[in-house]
């Protein structure tokens, strides 16, 4: 910490001119006020999106607590200022600031970004610039702070390699302390030396220590520049989630944010094996939090925060061992009930990423006694064939039985998430989405006149470190054609609506997701042309991206639309997510052969590498597959495409 002065009075002078000034004041319950000594290593943790989107992020909150607990280490938070505030800050010379003590970002030792989505990349550059630090890592001086980034997007760090001094790959709980100590030990040394030392910390990737050689649009080689720099940086994985009961004091914002509730992570990792899902691939193996700890975190958290809702988070919460018991205990626990009067003040529990089966709907029914408005499922594809390709093994029978169960138990709106532009997708698969929605709406009408089905369709972006990393993304025009196809079909369906994402944004996401280092110049130009908050439709413009690509001699054909070859060096080949390349390639071939692969928690190991390579194992309380069997577990997949005619005939009367 170089200066002690707070910028608060200068920040406050701007607040009457901006929307939602509460974004910039801090003061949340759970916020910590660090103290600074001469030896303190200080981190500014930045979520490069609005306060409302960034505040609930659990990864950032976990590191915030861990760093502040550590000796002589301090961490504060910051979020991307909205455009009105940025304008004020630039006009009045106010730099990016922290929310706890309102200090200038440049006074911290590390500016650490959480990267949860690729379209925030231009915001990262904007925040570095607002901090008053050189945007390009190569232009930073010895006494400038270090810019680092962690989170799921760092499994392809290359598009930001020019701007970020070092990346953290994988779970951050252990490695942040090691980074702090490296920075403390190297204080006073030249920047290049300090980066070299950071490069020796396992899980830390320092892009400036690697040379990338290109062969036309492709990569010829990626090689470390020094002998003590690893050729491949492997992700960090914490073996036991139970050893990390964080956040202990979840931040309670004073103003409205997304996911405004208590969040308790019940497990990390997922082995369902959905081939499009980057999170499921890179966070393996499954590590469950012990049930007793979940209960304690829930009851203590509700008591402390005053929230009346808790979300049990994970990539597929219905898969948590004994989920039914845990949920039941939370609901029945008088300590969790908000009102001493009883009855009123009922706690609600939410489970994100619901599995699609009747068992799961049953749990949803137990936890949502009142307010049964909408229930969301993610079949992801409209036909059984397509779902085998993507390995989302929801049988037709499970699908319609779940929807029937939801409507019969009083839900009136069912929301269905789909991807289009998936590998091998035909018009038949696309229209299958409409057919599926039509049947669901018919099932719903058998129960209530008010039944509605909302199908939400997003364009598929192939992600690094997944079996689909080789797949050439479908062009925006073609995605648009498929959306129009669906739109026409939905006009004919009673009680079903279609919503879709802009295929143009899907293309920009593709550029940022699988680009190599050369994409950095494009991101910089988009930012310089004013392209911030690109995931916000009111700020997004694809033209900026395409013009920048052209200006730098790059083509979306090469970097997004092209099917990649097996022998190609991928931009992220030197980043290890724990998955054997053979496993990913074989899984890609299985996908093309429409062959599904059941969850490895309950079936023999496929040797993906996530456990064996790291000497760790799944940590699950129960080896018994979930009751009822679903999504390929204990099911006869040869009959997965059979439509349950009895259900449709009796419930709907007509299936149109």
């Amino acid at each position: 910490m170089k200066h002690e002065a707070t910028l608060w009075s200068r920040v406050e002078a701007l607040l009457a001119n901006v929307q939602k000034p509460a974004r910039y004041i801090g003061c949340e319950d759970g916020a910590l006020t660090p103290t600074y000594g001469p030896e303190t290593v200080s981190w500014l943790l930045v979520y490069p999106d609005t306060y409302e989107v960034g505040l609930p992020n659990q990864g950032l909150q976990i590191l915030y607590e861990l760093l502040n607990e550590a000796a002589d280490t301090a961490a504060e938070r910051s979020y991307a200022p909205w455009t009105d505030m940025e304008e004020q800050m630039r006009a009045h010379g106010v730099p990016l600031f922290s929310l706890e003590t309102h200090r200038a970002a440049a006074d911290f030792d590390v500016l650490a970004f959480n990267l949860s989505a690729e379209l925030v990349y231009t915001n990262v550059l904007n925040c570095i610039d607002l901090a008053g630090v050189a945007v390009r890592a190569a232009d930073r001086a010895d006494d400038d702070l270090f810019v680092c980034a962690g989170g799921h997007c760092t499994f392809n760090p290359e598009p930001l390699a020019d701007f970020v001094d070092f990346f953290v790959i994988g779970d951050g709980e252990e490695v942040v302390a090691e980074i702090t100590e490296s920075l403390r030990a190297s204080r006073g040394e030249a920047r290049a030396e300090r980066l070299r030392a950071l490069g020796r910390v396992p899980g830390v990737y320092v892009p400036s220590l690697y040379d990338v050689v290109y062969d036309g649009s492709r990569i010829a080689s990626v090689a470390p520049r020094f002998a003590d720099v690893p050729a491949r940086v492997d992700k960090r994985t914490i073996a036991d989630l139970g050893a990390w009961p964080y956040p202990k004091q979840q931040l309670v914002p004073l103003t409205e944010v997304v996911h405004d509730r208590l969040n308790v992570e019940v497990f990390r990792g997922c082995t369902r094996g959905c081939r499009f899902c980057q999170a499921g691939m890179i966070t393996r193996p499954v590590r469950e939090r012990p049930a007793a700890q979940v209960r304690t975190m829930v009851s203590e958290g509700l008591k402390r925060t005053g929230y009346d809702e808790v979300s049990l988070t994970s990539l597929s919460s219905a898969d948590y061992s004994g989920i039914k018991e845990v949920v039941g205990e939370i609901i029945d626990d008088p300590e969790c009930s908000g009102s001493a009067g009883g009855g009123a003040g009922q706690i609600s529990v939410s489970l994100p990423s619901l599995r699609v089966d009747a068992f799961t709907v049953g749990i949803a029914g137990e936890i949502q006694k009142a307010r049964r408005t909408g229930l969301t499922f993610a079949p992801e594809a409209g036909t059984w064939r397509m779902r085998q390709v993507i390995n989302k093994l929801i049988t037709e029978e499970d699908l319609y039985a779940s929807v029937d169960a939801a409507f019969s138990q009083g839900w009136r709106r069912v929301k269905l998430y789909f991807l289009i532009g998936l590998p091998t997708e035909t018009d038949e698969d696309v229209l299958g989405i409409a057919e599926l929605a039509r049947r669901c709406a018919a099932i719903g009408r058998g129960h209530t006149k008010a039944a509605t089905v909302v199908a939400s369709v997003g364009g598929f972006v192939p992600k690094p470190q997944t079996p689909f990393q080789w797949f050439g993304q479908v062009r925006s025009e073609e995605l648009q054609r498929r959306i129009w196809l669906l739109k026409d079909e939905f006009k004919k369906i009673k009680g079903a609506q279609l919503k879709w994402h802009d295929p143009k944004a899907t293309l920009a996401e593709g550029l940022a997701s699988r680009g190599d280092r050369r994409m950095g110049a494009v991101i910089e130009e988009v930012w310089r042309q004013g392209g911030v908050f690109q995931e916000w439709s009111e700020c997004f413009s694809l033209d900026r991206w395409l013009t920048a690509m052209e200006n730098h001699g790059l083509s979306p054909d090469d970097h997004v639309f092209r099917h990649r070859q097996r022998e190609e060096i991928l931009p992220w080949s030197h980043i290890g997510a724990g998955l054997h390349e053979d496993f990913l390639w074989d899984d890609w071939q299985d996908a093309l052969a429409e062959y599904g692969l059941p969850d490895c928690r309950w079936t023999p190991c496929y040797d993906c590498g996530a456990c064996t390579e790291f000497g760790i194992e799944h940590v699950v309380a129960s080896n018994v597959p979930p009751a009822g069997g679903s999504q390929g577990t204990g099911q006869d997949l040869s009959r997965g495409g059979d439509v349950p005619v009895t259900l449709l005939a009796t419930r709907a009367g007509v299936s149109q």
């Binding site: 608060w8 009075s9 406050e12 002078a13 701007l14 607040l15 009457a16 001119n17 000034p21 509460a22 910039y24 004041i25 801090g26 003061c27 949340e28 319950d29 309670v252 004073l254 103003t255 409205e256 008591k303 402390r304 925060t305 005053g306 929230y307 009346d308 908000g338 009102s339 001493a340 009067g341 009855g343 009123a344 003040g345 009142a370 307010r371």
Partner: protein
């Protein structure tokens, strides 16, 4: 039973909105496990009635809300202390008392508010406050034009000003003390910024009193006196209400 709660909003937390305050109070009620009554229906909410909204960005020493405990009897002092403990830093309960049956509602009863207007940033010349007060008081009309629901409307602020003087806070900060009636149309203290030729960003606004007049005589919905509950959780610098508050209640 129903309790009336008086609270203050000071410091950074002045930048949260009226709706934000409502959410904070609901959470504080749950944290304190207070036996409040809940509304009927699909989505039961604690029965809390809020007073006149305070503009986002303004401080206040005199905010009010009524909490309905239904058939439950509660200790007013304990409720005040529990609520204060569960509210954000800068929001503190300063008094609680049972609401007599038939009391006028907080939204309807307030006839006037006293505001203090300080100036952020560069200090104003010494005589600016006195001269501004004299100028505004001498004006026959103070017409400001502003946007309301997409339409440009002009209002004369002058009839709303029932008192105006240059004063100083106990710490010496010079202020304009202004009393604005809520009739014929409520105006925001920020509207005075136009008349004072100050940009909105420079106005440091604090509400110090809300006045009701149930029987013609002027009083506060809940005064800071011996019948109220002095809250022990106030930060040291805000523990004493400014001297003029005491004058007001004995006047």
């Amino acid at each position: 039973m129903k309790l009336r709660v008086r609270f203050q909003k000071l410091g950074k937390v002045r930048w949260i909105s009226h709706r934000d305050i409502a959410r904070c109070v609901e959470r504080a009620v749950r944290r304190g496990k207070l036996p409040v009554a809940y509304s009927e229906g699909f989505s039961p909410r604690p029965r809390i009635a809020f007073g006149l909204a305070l503009p986002t960005g303004a401080e206040s020493l005199a905010e009010y809300l009524d909490v309905d405990f239904g058939v439950n009897e509660v200790d007013a002092a304990a409720v005040g202390s529990a609520l204060s403990a569960g509210l954000p830093v800068g929001i503190d309960v300063t008094a609680t008392a049972p609401v007599p049956t038939g009391a006028v509602s907080l939204q309807e009863g307030v006839v006037a508010c006293r505001w203090e207007l300080g100036v952020f940033g560069e200090p104003m010349p010494d005589d600016w406050f006195a001269q501004s007060a004299a100028r505004l008081l001498a004006a026959d009309e103070l017409v400001v034009t502003r946007e309301r629901k997409g339409q440009m409307v002009s209002d004369d602020l002058r009839p709303n000003i029932t008192a105006l003087s240059a004063e100083a806070r106990p710490d010496g900060t010079p202020i304009l003390a202004v009393e604005l009636s809520t009739y014929p149309r409520g105006i925001r203290p920020a509207d005075l910024g136009h008349a004072l030729e100050l940009p909105v960003t420079r106005l440091d606004v604090r509400r110090t009193h809300q006045w009701i007049a149930p029987d013609g005589a002027r009083t506060e919905p809940l005064m800071l006196d011996e019948t109220s509950y002095p809250c022990p959780n106030l930060p040291p610098n805000t523990h004493q209400p400014p001297g003029d508050a005491v004058v007001a209640r004995t006047a």
